[in-house]
Symmetry: C2
Subunit: 152 residues, 2 copies
DNA sequence: GTATATTAAGACTAAATACTCTTAAATATT
DNA sequence: AATATTTAAGAGTATTTAGTCTTAATATAC
């Protein structure tokens, strides 16, 4: 698995926020997010605390509180969330888990893997929360995708 | 982490075998492999049992026994070992861990990720144990790399 | 056949990750 | 001030992955 489950939960919640009114710039309760994403409320709370600490989200306690994106969904990318939760092991890690593998002392897979890894990182940096929110036509991330031709 | 530690151990042992005389086609004891790779003997034994069951290795009990490659190192690729140990979750898994993600119901990352994933898989299929054994000039995988200008 | 060398298999333990529950702190409403 | 709503934080539990240990099975050599 490339990303931890914790990280995936953080991503899903961030994209869900981005899909909300005002592009996620107003408070939504974690309860609402956890209900929609079908993730345990308490666990999601912990995950989102990491995003709050790394200032991707802002939180507010009490009635009408919740979490919101700290800045526009188009300026937060996939990689920001990944680094906040999984750290940058993805960036530095050798495919064979060999300590000390690098340009100076490449493992047998280093050259091939660093190229592929760079492509993954570039992709993660290029795609923003807004992109993902707009690209969830199949409702994978958002159980109740944005209604274009709204019903009731 | 893309590959489990178990999988990485299996890869390292396979490459080490491939680097041995006769290209790994004669028996080497697991004890020798575990000593050279500095992996616990018992744990490596378990890992290699998987490779033996999937017929990438052959084992033989008793004195002069051990494990050897079941076929030439140039005909076993990286992917063979990965699939034997980690299964093909790598091939099928959605980057966001979403069940049901696929061509028919792509998640917001599906298109980008499936392209990158294909590159990873292609790389793993293209590189053989022989390639890796030949390409370990820095001795990352093999603690005592093959001596070209042999000492003592 | 007895001792020795080796892999196979299963039970067990440890560590990492995922998840739950309880309590505290902050804010709003009345 | 009292109560309700919400996130924060910490302790605790469960599950998965990694690793260890013991015993069994198989083969060789004497």
């Amino acid at each position: 698995m490339l990303l931890s489950k914790t990280c995936i939960y953080g991503l899903r919640a961030s994209v869900l926020l981005a899909s909300k009114k005002q592009g996620g710039l107003e408070y939504t309760t974690i309860r609402e997010l956890s209900d929609e994403l079908e993730i345990s409320f308490h666990f999601l709370t912990k995950v989102l605390q990491k995003l709050t600490k790394s200032e991707l989200l802002e939180s507010y306690k009490g009635p009408n509180g919740g979490v919101k994106l700290a800045r526009d969904a188009s300026s937060i990318n996939f990689m920001d969330v990944v680094r906040s939760i999984d750290g940058d092991s993805l960036i530095h890690e050798c495919a064979l888990g060999l300590p000390g593998c690098g340009l100076l002392k490449p493992c047998p897979l280093h050259d091939q893997w660093s190229g592929l890894k760079m492509n993954i990182i570039t992709m993660m940096q290029d795609i923003t929360l807004k992109d993902m929110a707009n690209n969830d036509s199949t409702g994978h991330l958002l159980k109740n995708p944005i209604q274009i031709i709204s019903g009731k």
